[in-house]
Amino acid sequence: MDDKQKPQTIAQKILACHCGRDHVSEGEIINADVDIVLGNDITLPIAIEEFNKIGTGKVFDRDKIVVVPDHFAPNKDIKSAQQCKFMREFAREQDIKNYFEIGKMGIEHALLPELGLVLPGNLIVGADSHTCTYGALGAASTGVGSTDVAVAMATGKLWFMIPRTIKFMYSGDLRKWITGKDLILHTIGLIGVEGALYKSMEFSGSAVSKLSMDSRFTMSNMAIEAGGKFGIFEVDEITEEFLKFRSDGNYKIFRSDPDAEYEKIYNIDCSDIKLQVAAPHLPSNAKNAEDLKDINIDQVVIGSCTNGRMEDLKISAEILKGKKVDKNIRVIIIPATQNIYLEALKKGYIETFINSGCVVSTPTCGPCLGGYMGVLAEGERAVSTTNRNFVGRMGHPGSEVYLSGPAVAAASAIAGRIATPEEVI
C-alpha cells in the first residue's frame, strides 16, 4: 500500500492538517503551523531572550500566545518577581491578549481549557512538560523548551517528528472512588516511565467513554510521565458538553481510522484497578494504596495541573466533611483556578476544608515542584495529588512524595498515614 492510502492515527491526522497535507508518515519530520503557544514564569523569560535574538520584533500572532505566571506566582521571592515582571512587560509590549495576571490567573493547564483557549484538533505547544493535558480535548498538544517557544512565537511554526502511537483500551466498571489518576498511575506502572517515550498515547475504550472531563485531563496530563509526546482522547458527547459554553463550535474533530496501525495495544480491565499510589521516586512505582497503610506522613497536598479541578475538590470535601485532619500533619489544598476556587466556595467545600484544619491557597504550582507554599524538610514525607515524585521534587533531597488521587490524599489527611476512604468514613 502506498503511504498516501495508509490509515492514520489521530496524531498523524492533526499533524498532517497543520502542514497542509492529507498524510504524514511515522518518523518523518515536518514543519507545522501551531495554534497556541504557551509560556509560564519559569520558562518564558528564557524564551523571550531567545525570541529577541531572532529579530522579528513582533510575535507572529498576538492572539495565539498565552502567558501565565503560575509557578512561582504570586511572586515567591525577589528573583521570581523580576522574572514575572520581565514576562509582564513583554506581554504588554507585544499586546498579548491572553496574559493572565494574579486574580485572573490559574494553573495554566486547568486555565486554558476552562477558558476555551484550547480546542479539539488544535496543535498546541507550551514550554511546560504538562502541556500534553489538552490531549483530553482531542488536540495534539505537547511540552517543548524555551527555545522552541521562542521560535514558535516568532514564526508560528515548529518542527515535529511524526510519532508512533500506542493505544490503551480501558474496559470494565470503575470501583468506588476510582478516578483518572488511578487509571493513569496504573498505566504508567504497567509500561514504565519510558514506556511511551517519543510516542503518542491514545486513550479509549468503554470505561473512558464514561470518564469525566476532569479525569481525562488528569490522564492526558500524566502522559509525559510515561515519556509520551501526546496523550489523546477522541472527542465524544462529554467533550462536546464541556465545550458547549466555552467555544463557538469552530473546531475540527479528528478520529483515528479504525484500521490505523498502532505500535502496541494494551487492554486494561478497570474493574481490577484499586486506588493507586506511586511510591518514591518514580511515577511508575504504582502500588495499591491498601498495601501502604504503614506509611506515616507529614503533609498532604491536593491541587496542581493534575488534580486541582472540581472533581478533585468534590471528592476531597466528601471525605473531609465533618472530620479533622490528623494533628501531626499539614494539609494544603490548592484550587487550580479562580473559577474552581469560587465554585468550591459556593458549594461549601472551602468551608469544609477550613473546618477540617486544611489551608486553602490561591492558585499556584508552588509545592508540586518544591517552589514554595509547602516545601518539605529533610526526612519529611507527603502524599500529593501532583504528578512527580522524583528525588527532591517537593523540597529537600531527603524528603519523599507519594503520588495519589484525591480520595487517598483526603483519607490520608485524616489518618495521618496513607489510607483509603473506607478507613476514615
Binding site: 519559569i42 535574538k53 509557578h71 523548551g145 521560535v151 516511565v193 518544591g370 528525588v391 527532591g392
Partner: protein
C-alpha cells in the same frame, strides 16, 4: 568536530529535578544555573566536571520537566557531550536547540565506564573508548536535526532561514 574527554557515569532516569532543582529556576542566568547543576544527584559534580566533560547515562536521561535550564546548566558547566541509552523527548530537543551534543547509543552507554577516556567524532559518528580500546558507530541524526546542529542551534538556524 572531534573531542577527547573523560567521562562521568550516571544511571537510569536522571530527571530534570536532580539536574537543576526547581528552587533555582527563579533565574535564567546560565552561570548561576550551572553552579547548582546536578545538585540533587551528585554533590561532587562541580569538582568532577573540571576533569571529566562527557556524561554517560542509562535510560530516559533528562526525564521530567521541559525546563531548558537543565541542558543549559549542563552545557555552561563545561560538559561537551552526553551519551545515553535513551533520552527523554523534551530534553533531547532542548539540547539540540541550544547546541549541546547528545548521542543516543544503548551499546556505548552500557559499555563505557566512569572515568574512561573517549574520543568522539561527531561528523563521522564514531565514539572511541580509548581506555578500553573499543569503537562504536552512532546512527546519524535526521538531516533536518543535523542542520540545526550545523547552524549552532535552533535560533541561528531559524535566523538563517528567515534571511534566505
Amino acid at each position: 568536530m572531534i573531542i577527547r574527554e573523560r567521562t562521568i557515569k550516571y544511571g537510569d532516569n536522571v530527571d530534570t529535578d536532580v539536574i537543576i532543582p526547581a528552587r533555582y529556576l527563579n533565574t535564567s542566568d546560565d552561570r548561576e544555573l550551572a553552579s547548582h547543576c546536578f545538585e540533587g544527584l551528585d554533590r561532587d559534580f562541580k569538582e568532577k566536571v573540571k576533569e571529566k566533560k562527557i556524561i554517560i547515562a542509562g535510560n530516559n536521561f533528562g526525564c521530567g520537566s521541559s525546563r531548558e535550564h537543565a541542558p543549559l546548566s549542563i552545557k555552561t558547566s563545561g560538559v561537551k557531550a552526553i551519551i545515553a541509552a535513551s533520552f527523554s523527548r523534551i530534553f533531547f530537543r532542548n539540547s539540540i536547540n541550544i547546541g549541546l551534543p547528545v548521542i543516543s547509543s544503548r551499546e556505548a552507554a552500557d559499555f563505557i565506564q566512569d572515568g574512561d577516556e573517549l574520543e568522539v567524532d561527531f561528523s563521522s559518528g564514531r565514539i572511541k573508548d580509548i581506555t578500553r580500546d573499543k569503537v562504536f558507530n552512532i546512527n546519524p541524526l535526521p538531516e533536518f536535526i543535523q542542520g540545526i546542529i550545523k547552524s549552532g542551534g535552533y535560533i541561528n538556524f531559524v535566523k538563517e532561514d528567515l534571511n534566505k
